[in-house]
């Protein structure tokens, strides 16, 4: 359940950024969550519901950009969609793969007033 720590970090970022802008309410929060970031969305949603209570994010609209995994083969340079970290390159079968996308775990933007 590291998802709870992740949600707590998101709340802290939202509070810090809102305070810097003298905002009292977060209307919307936009997050980037990659498919290979290690976040289990069911656990994340559960942690979110519990953790945002009585915070600035309690009534915020949450927008999540799910970013699919993409790998690049270090041998043949092929780019390919990646669901799991142990997938070989579909072109040459090698495992020397560098993750290009899907590791994202970011607070992208806030809409405050």
């Amino acid at each position: 359940m590291h998802e709870l720590s992740i949600v707590m970090s998101i709340i802290r970022i939202a509070e810090t950024e809102s305070a810097k802008n003298n905002a009292i309410k977060v209307e919307e929060i936009e997050l980037d969550i990659g498919a290979l970031s290690g976040i289990e969305m069911t656990a994340f949603d559960f942690a979110w519901q519990q953790a945002v209570r009585a915070t600035l994010l309690e009534h915020s609209k949450r927008k999540i950009n799910h970013i699919p995994g993409e790998g690049q083969c270090m041998d043949c340079a092929a780019l390919f969609p990646m669901q799991q970290l142990y997938e070989p390159c579909p072109v040459c079968g090698e495992h020397f793969v560098s993750v290009q996308k899907g590791k994202e775990l970011r607070v992208k933007s806030l809409v405050v007033n």
């Binding site: 359940m1 590291h2 720590s5 970090s9 802008n21 290690g38 799991q84």
Partner: protein
């Protein structure tokens, strides 16, 4: 987080203001302008940036003092503490070692380490499932490890959550025992993906368990082709010299001239 950590970072974020001025018809016989003002904050901040900042701070401290900080991760019961007990006893006269123990509850592991005569700090995470850089910062502040030493950080027994949290270590060492399945590296790929060394423990039990050394390495290399392996038994002592050699190569204590 506390005031001493420098976590209140002013990371750059740009602000885009926009207001709407538009005619707004009402159900009465005149119209007038309203201003609706919202602010969009382009945060673009990694969720773990606080942890990562503190981890880099720890890393800088370790590098400056030539402290070899190792993050030992595994599932519960794979023998992290036993490996440490044996290592600390065997290397007592060669290196100054320190240990940070992470467990949800009790100081049982710290007691075992303390019995070897090693300076140890116990972190109890309560309900938490991993150590983070902030906990390490404070443990190290209390411990004040000497230069040219080894700091073993025994993470909470958990093959999932600790993978995401950089502590500032130089190397991440994942430990697996032969009594676990040889398919563990692909069942818990994140941990094997982020580690540099894999220690396969309890090899004295190999004759009794259906565990294939080739298969476990093959699975682990699928996740991380650059992972190195050491096969050891803390009970028989087999393979431990190679582990000690690995430590010696990593610590690189400057020779006295």
């Amino acid at each position: 987080m506390c005031a001493t950590c420098g976590c209140d970072a002013n990371a750059s974020s740009s602000i885009r203001q926009f207001g709407e001025n538009h005619p707004h018809p009402h159900d009465h016989d005149h119209s007038h302008d309203h201003t609706h003002s919202k602010t969009i904050i382009e945060v673009e901040k990694d969720v773990l940036y606080e942890n990562n900042l503190l981890a880099q701070r720890n890393r800088g401290y370790f590098e400056a003092k030539n402290i070899l900080a190792l993050n030992l991760v595994s599932s519960p019961g794979s023998g992290k503490t036993s490996l440490l007990e044996r290592t600390l006893t065997d290397l007592k006269d060669q290196f100054t070692c320190y240990v940070i123990e992470g467990d949800q509850q009790t100081s049982r592991d710290a007691d075992r380490i303390h019995a070897t005569g090693t300076r140890v700090a116990q972190i109890n995470t309560g309900k938490g499932c991993h150590l983070d850089a902030h906990m390490i910062l404070h443990a190290v502040q209390g411990m004040k490890p000497a230069e040219n030493s080894i700091l073993f950080i025994e993470n909470v027994g958990n093959l999932v959550c600790p993978a995401m949290f950089d502590l500032g270590e130089k190397e991440r060492v994942v430990i697996i025992s032969v009594t676990e399945g040889d398919d563990k590296p692909i069942k818990y790929p994140d941990m094997f993906h982020t580690s540099t060394l894999c220690i396969i423990n309890k090899i004295d039990l190999l004759p009794y368990v259906p565990f294939s050394m080739d298969k476990v390495k093959e699975h682990a290399r699928q996740v991380n082709p650059t992972l190195s392996f050491l096969e050891v038994s803390c009970t028989s002592g087999e393979g431990l010299p190679a582990w000690y050699q690995w430590l010696k190569e990593k610590i690189q204590v400057p020779e006295q001239v």
